[in-house]
Symmetry: C2
Subunit: 210 residues, 2 copies
C-alpha cells in the first residue's frame, strides 16, 4: 500500500552543503524541526556508497515514520525498500520508472513547465516537484518556472505539488494563494547553522501563508 | 528463462576509447568480428542518456542474438529489459541485485580475489569477471589478480569465468591452461583501428590457447 504522504516540508539532501558533521544528523534534526518527507540525493557517490547511505538514513526516517524518497536511482530505492523515487527530466523516463517500481511506491517527477507537468501525471507521477522557482547555487543549470506557470500547473493537475529551487524564508511568502501542497528545500535547511530551527521556522511560515 | 550464454569474447564498452564515430558502430563491428556478449558501461552519462544509449545498442545486440549486459545500473537494465547486469565491488551488493533482477536475468560480478569470487557465487552470480589481470589505462585503480589466484578461483567455483584487465594479443597466451571460459576486452577491441578485425584475431587466438 502506498503511504499517505504529508508534502508540507520536503527536505532534499545535499552532502556538499551540510552544516552538520553527518548526513544522518542533518536528517534527524530536520525531522525534529518538522520535515515531513526526505529525499536522499547523492550525485557523486558510488552505487555502493549510495546504498549504504540510504540504509543509514532510512533507519532514521523509519523511526520517525517519515517517508524516504531516493533521487534518480530506482535500483537503490528497490535495494533499500525506500518509499519511493524522484526523477528529473534527465533521469529514467517516469513511465518506465512506474513500471519498475510498481503501483505501491511513491513516484515524484520534476516539472518546470505545464507541458512537463501534464506528461509526468500521465506517466504515473504521485506528486510534482515544480521549479526551479528561482536560480540557486544548488542547481545552476535549472530552467526557471514563473509563478504564473506554477498557477497554470496547479489548475491543470490534481496531484500534490511541491515547489523547489530557491525556497527560503524570504521567497516563501510569494507562494501565498498558489495552492501548493508543500515546499522542497535544500540549502535553507541543510546549510543552516541550526537545522532544526530552520525547518521549524519554514514550516511555521508555510502554515501562515497557506 | 535465462539465455544460454557464450562467454568466449566479451566486449565491455568505453565511450572514451572508441575508434569509431558511434558506439553502435563499434558494437556492430565487434559482433561481426565474433564478440559473443556485450556489456554497456557508461560512467559519465545521465540516467536518461544511459537508458537511450542502451535502447540503441540493444537493437543491434538483439538483431545478432547477442546478450546485452548493463554495467552497474540495475534500473537501466530493467528499463530496457536487458539480458543482465554486471556489478563490481563498489556497486550495489550482488545479493540485493539478484533479488531485484529475479532469477531469469544474468548477473555478473567482478572479483579480484578468491574471497570475492566465493562471495559472488554465494550471492547469486551467474559468471565472474576476474581481474584486473594487468594494470590498464581503463582502470588504473583496480586490484591486480595473479594467474595463481585465478587458478585458485577456477578450482573453487563452477560458474563461468572471464578474465578482464589488460587482455590483448600479447597477454592472452598467458591464460593457456587456466580453464577460463572467455576474455573480457575493452581497449583491445574498442580502441582498435579495425574493430572487427581486432575481435576476430582475439577470438582465433583464444580458441588456439584453450
Amino acid at each position: 500500500m502506498k503511504p499517505s504522504v504529508d508534502y508540507t516540508l520536503y527536505l532534499v539532501t545535499d552532502r556538499d552543503l551540510m552544516s552538520t558533521p553527518t548526513l544522518e544528523e542533518a536528517v534527524e534534526q530536520a525531522i525534529r524541526g518538522g520535515v515531513t518527507l526526505v529525499q536522499l540525493r547523492e550525485k557523486h557517490a558510488s552505487s555502493l556508497e549510495f546504498y549504504q547511505t540510504a540504509l543509514r538514513v532510512k533507519k532514521i526516517t523509519d523511526s520517525y515514520n517519515v517517508p524516504l524518497i531516493i533521487n534518480d536511482r530506482v535500483d537503490v530505492a528497490l535495494a533499500v525498500d525506500a518509499d519511493g523515487v524522484h526523477v528529473g527530466q534527465s533521469d529514467l523516463p517516469a513511465a518506465r520508472v512506474r513500471e519498475i517500481l510498481g503501483p505501491d511506491k511513491i513516484l515524484g517527477v520534476s516539472a518546470s513547465s505545464l507541458k512537463e507537468a501534464l506528461k509526468a501525471v500521465e506517466d504515473g507521477a504521485d506528486y510534482l516537484g515544480v521549479g526551479a522557482m528561482f536560480a540557486t547555487g544548488t542547481k545552476t543549470d535549472a530552467d526557471i518556472t514563473t509563478i504564473e506557470e506554477l498557477k497554470r500547473i496547479r489548475q491543470a493537475v490534481s496531484v500534490p505539488i511541491v515547489v523547489i529551487g530557491g525556497i527560503n524564508k524570504q521567497t516563501l511568502p510569494l507562494f501565498a494563494g498558489t495552492g501548493i501542497d508543500g515546499i522542497a528545500v535544500v540549502s535553507a535547511i541543510i546549510a543552516a547553522a541550526d537545522v532544526e530551527k530552520a525547518a521549524r521556522e519554514l514550516k511555521e511560515l508555510f502554515k501562515q501563508i497557506t
